[in-house]
Symmetry: C2
Subunit: 251 residues, 2 copies
Amino acid sequence: MSKYEDQLLQTVDMRGTVSVQELSRLLGVSDQTIRRVSRPLVERGDLRKVHGALMSNRPASDPPFLARMNVNRAAKVAIARQVAEIIGDGDSVAIDTGSTSAFVAQALRSRRNLSVVTNSAFVASTLAMIPGNNVSMAGTQLRDHDGAAFDRSAFEVIERMQVDYVLLSASMVEPDKGFLVHEQCEVDIATAMLANASRAIMAVDHSKFQPQSRKPALRQPTLKPGDILVSDKPPPAAFDALCEGLDLRLG
Amino acid sequence: MSKYEDQLLQTVDMRGTVSVQELSRLLGVSDQTIRRVSRPLVERGDLRKVHGALMSNRPASDPPFLARMNVNRAAKVAIARQVAEIIGDGDSVAIDTGSTSAFVAQALRSRRNLSVVTNSAFVASTLAMIPGNNVSMAGTQLRDHDGAAFDRSAFEVIERMQVDYVLLSASMVEPDKGFLVHEQCEVDIATAMLANASRAIMAVDHSKFQPQSRKPALRQPTLKPGDILVSDKPPPAAFDALCEGLDLRLG
DNA sequence: GCCAATTTCAACAAAAAACAACAAATATGT
DNA sequence: ACATATTTGTTGTTTTTTGTTGAAATTGGC
């Protein structure tokens, strides 16, 4: 490990993009050395290299939530598009937290005059930008990796709402246990949302039907017949019983 | 991967449609280069190409707030960097709404263990992503173009806080009237924040010292001696009296 | 349908940057 | 102190990028 490594990384992360020439001037070494020192950093994925310059790979250090948005991105985009098909202009919708919900929020930017209630600051800020939308952020205290709220004020807002659709997600699905998440507070929010919504939309990509590395253990509230299940591929046959009565839509 | 890729994508996504000529002027390269750089983006599906221009492929349609983030971008980035210098790891800070605040939020992603109170959903979601931060979203009902809250619950949260710094902004500055904004509710929030903060940071880029097309008419609360004024260029001499006693920092 | 104005494309030349190999300088171990 | 490694700078060559030119294609109006 080179002695310039830290300073180089710091400079690039701070400024976003720095030319090799400027770096060599800044650190007082030759441009060749900059290239040599930066090579392992590029291979390790800490930086990306473009012609003539080095770019920070994390837009100021990579927040885990945004990182998670990149796993199974294609599937999530497809699902989000499908969900946006279901929801029409002027509808009211409650949206829970999670990376799939974030994609749905982006897809919903093409809808107009939505009424939205969500406990995710990311979803709220995405949809509040759209002129004509009416967005309520449920909750005050934000969880530190994904900007979701689960405090008492979140429940107060959700309990006062009445919406056409609620969008839910899950970390994993098991044939006998149903839709599972990691935290009890997520179940509580989902339950509260479900109680005041006409219809639920459960969005899970195909990877959720397989075992996960970190096994979630808490069950989302059970869906009613007629609720909608959106995925990118049909669920395996083992899940037939679970999906019984649900309206399955594929992206 | 070209070094222009990010900036090109960002510009097109913000504005929806941008002509090749304007892009070449904007990035300071030839139109041929724009075509060359955009080709892989078009093939990858990130952009659509029409004669003479590139279109964003995201169903986005540009929200005015994001569009506003592009006027005077360079100045705002410089100011944001300067503000991030002032605020240290572990500090507590209240942040108001506005496009300058959005840039500050992005710059503050390099700080750790911040305690943040804000009435802007965009700022909240940006900073809540950072592990270790403690972010409170003040308010529930979000304004529809910029995702800012001004309802009663926003004030309740702000009145309970006690922070090291409050970051304020303004739409225009006049030598005799001081820092002006368009809406009374923005003044109210600023006043409440200022009351519970040790020190204020007012961030205004140089364009705010000149007359604006839409003239704001409401005065932000007056700053104390020792409060900080951050800008990208020194204010014109006519503002000397106004800046008297303020700690001026230039980005 | 045809013409004029743009826009796009292809090929080339100049410039900038990356790379490889070697030599000098510094550091390290015995 | 000596020999050996490691790091750094320099040189020359190769690769990539960029702007320019002129030809082909597309658009819009008549």
